[in-house]
Structures are given as C-alpha cells and as structure tokens.
C-alpha cells in the first residue's frame, strides 16, 4: 500500500491508481475500500460499532461476575462486603450498567446472527433491527429494574 487517499481528484491529474486500488499478494488489483469518513452516517454503522463496544463491556462484566463468584467462595463475610457495595448508589449504577450490557449483547447479538445468516440485509429490516439493537437495551434495563424494585428484591 502506498497512498491511502480516497479522493478521486488525487488520481485524475496523474493517472496514478494507487489511491483507489490495492495490490493483492497474488498480484491482482483490488479496489481500496473507502473508510468511515467517506460514508454518510447510518444506524447500521452505530449498531455494528456498538456490538464491538458491547463485547468489550461484556468482558468487563464477566470479570465482575468472576469476582462475585470469588466473593461467594470466600464466604459470608466477603459476600457481605460485595452486597454492601452493590447496595450503594455507585453499586446500583454499576448494576444497572451490567443489565444494559446484557440486553445489548442479546439484542445486538441476535441482530448480528440474523445478518450473518444472510437475512434482514435489505434497508427496512436492517434499519429496524439496528434501531432495536441500539435503543432497545435502555428501556428493557429500566423495565428490569422497575420489576426488581416492584418485587422488593432491591430497595433503597
């Protein structure tokens, strides 16, 4: 790869195609893909990027869950410390965040699997599934916590 310019004007003057084409190892030319800034924003892009962020957040969530298992394995005193933290405002904030991550993983993961099967790639379903994956986790997490409070599992 020599140049990474995506501007067609760069190539018009000289006839140099290096800005539009990349040579494959087998010697054949392949068109160079335009990068993010070239495209008009679309919700499918947000959903795609959010899934990567969600996987990162889910990894952090998994580490927190392993810590929770460890606290249980270390006995009632250690677990009491975890529960005291979980009941604090910051603990509840973390707890809410964890449920947002779980809903995001489920909704965006389902969207990704459906798209991987070659389904829902036309404009309407792709937009619908992306919007559900991007916005769905927040109201679902709020509903989940409303139910937790309503059933008395969590109280302030």
């Amino acid at each position: 790869m020599t140049s990474v310019s995506n501007n067609p004007a760069d190539t018009d003057k000289t006839g140099d195609l290096s800005a539009q084409v990349v040579m494959q190892p087998n010697g054949r030319p392949r068109p160079l893909s335009p990068h993010l800034q070239t495209w008009r924003w679309h919700v499918t892009m947000t959903a795609s990027i959010l899934f990567r962020i969600t996987i990162g957040a889910a990894s952090v969530a998994a580490i927190i869950l392993v810590g929770w298992l460890a606290a249980l394995a270390f006995g009632p005193d250690a677990y009491a410390g975890v529960l005291a933290f979980a009941a604090s405002p910051f603990g509840l904030f973390i707890g809410f965040g964890l449920t947002v991550v779980l809903f995001s993983f489920l909704l965006n993961g389902a969207r990704h699997l459906i798209n991987d099967l070659g389904q829902g790639l036309t404009l309407k379903p792709a937009n619908l599934m992306s919007n559900i994956a991007v916005w769905g986790p927040i109201p679902l997490a709020v509903l989940f916590w409303v139910l937790l409070f309503a059933t008395g599992r969590v109280s302030l």
Binding site: I55, G56, A70, A73, G75, L102, F103, L106, L113, D116
Partner: protein, 134 residues
Amino acid sequence: MSGAARFHKGVKISERHGAGEWKTEKLALAALMPLGLWVLSSVFTLTGAGYAGVMAWFGSWLNAGLAIVTALVFFGFATLAWKVIIEDYIHKPGTSRVLMAVLNVVCLLLAAASVFFIVRLALGSAPLPAGLGF
C-alpha cells in the same frame, strides 16, 4: 497473523479454510443467546437472595452446570471476538502476537477460575482460603 503467510499458486492458503474460526465464533454467539436469557432470569432470581439463597441456588447441579457452560462458552467467544478486534486494529505483528498471547492466557485463567469457584459453590465447600485444606 500467526507466522508468515503461505501461498499456493498466488492465493493465500488461509483463503481455503479461513471461515472455520468465524463459524466457531458464530456458533458460540448463537449458544450465548439462550444462555444469556437464562443469565437474565438468574440475575432476577438471585438479586436480594442473600448469601444463603445464592448458595442454595448453586446447590442445584442444573444451575451450577449451566453456569459452567455459560462461563466456558462466553470466554471462548470472548477469545475469538477480541482476536478479531486485535487483528483489525493492531497492525504490528510483534504487538499483535503479544496481545493475542495475553488475551488467551487471561481468558483461560478466567474460565478456569469460574469453573473452580462454581464447583466449590455447588459442592458447598468451606469458605476459602481455609477450605483449600491448608
């Protein structure tokens, strides 16, 4: 990014089997969908259950077994998913190789720790560290 790329008649060898890892990742993600719903319902059950309630829950081998399966599938999925992210954004072969090694070790340790803790909870073992036997 593992080792030098090999070619057959000018075509990269991995082009013939490169989808294997992708398929594994997708199968793991598919398995995580029902497991994730189970985690969601478990979180609802266990919130506010207290130490005794959670220990009783882990006393069921169905719960403990599903927890172990979830941990193994998730950390397997996380290994592959992070590998793709490293491949996409880290272009220095040395850095990439080091990060992959760290990733594999961390995921393996987390999976092993999960299984260790869950088995102890399911067996109702004495609290650590006294329960280790020394």
